[in-house]
Amino acid sequence: MILQELKRGIIDENPIFVLVLGLCPSLATSTSVENAIGMGIAATLVLTCSNVIISMVRGVIPGKIRIPCFIVIIATFVTIVDLLMKAYSPALNRSLGIFVPLIVVNCIILGRAEAYASKNSVRASLVDGIVMGLGFTVALFILASIREVLSANKFLGLLVIPGFEPMPVFGLAPGGFFAIALVMGVVAMLRERRKKA
């Protein structure tokens, strides 16, 4: 059950490579592995909590105004997390602080609220938030590994291959598209192959 859910979040319904959600922050934060992990953790936390809250209030909110309500709830929640982090954990704020404002506009959060949390139980939404967040983190990690090594010959800020001439374009937006396209292609190929088999 747990393994199945994990597989769903990381492979079958991977937010970036399969659902193609949240490309904008992925492009911005997959330039280095450190950023990718930071963004992944921050997004997972917010996604899990917002899924739980949305699922709790799903009976109360009328269907016609659910989207603005979700946005208000998510933005409120993110702002509160941001304030608390600044006040009580300056170290965490230094490493994750820049990603938090990006999360408000992250369509994965709203996407999962709309597609899953508004229709499922609190417990199922909690699990969905965790596995989807992990899927997002894994996808960012893969993209960032490719981009950081190719663009700067570095991994986590440390040099990798002696004498390798890096390609700076991979650190910029076009390189982000190249990397996403390549990985997405490979993932789609594997899925096709499995469907045939």
């Binding site: 409120t76 304030l83 006040a87 602080g97 990006l102």
Partner: protein, 241 residues
Amino acid sequence: MADIIKLTAILFVISALAALAISGTYSIASPKIELQKRREQEQALQAVFPPGARIEETKGSAPLPPLYWTAKNADGKILGYAFATAGKGYSSDIRCIVGVEPGGAILGMKVLSQAETPGLGTRVMEVVSTSYLWNSLFKKKTAGEPWFQSQFKGLNARRPFAVKTKVDEWHTCPPDARRALAAENAVTAITGATISTRAVVNAIETTVPNYLKAIERMSGRDEHQEGAAVDDTAGVETRNN
């Protein structure tokens, strides 16, 4: 019609609750946030002045900022001043603290806060490591320096800065290339678009020279009005100039 009113009312209630939750959190968190900012500022001050300097908060009146800092050595001689300043970056105000000698030579520059694009503008705070991944798996990691901030040290804040793009970044430059950059009063940019770099450069250029001039005028006037006997620190400073 009744439906519209009902939906509006519900959305209003939800927004009001959200606003209440945020303002509640803010009123609890804001004093703590101020405290954290002060602590950060103190650490930054230690970093922009030479070690062992006595740092004093100084109240200023226009054109000086309401608060700046004066560093003195053990004998009371003025080593320099530090000013907090900010520049408009790509997506945030980049706040920094600059320590300068009375003559304009920068003692140190420290970025306090920014929210630039991760991977691009955030590199104003970048710390570069030159060790290889394989080595660091076995050996202890050596702490790098925040090179973008370090390269300001020794430049003259009273002269305009040059911003260099398409050159090797400062942290990869050998000592003689660094000296050449310093001779041109130049910094190497962190991105090709130089938005975040120029934000920091402008923040210094538009404030620090004026502040220094104002302090000079002030200490000159003090001399005239109060005579040599009263304020001996100001006397020491002018004699040194």
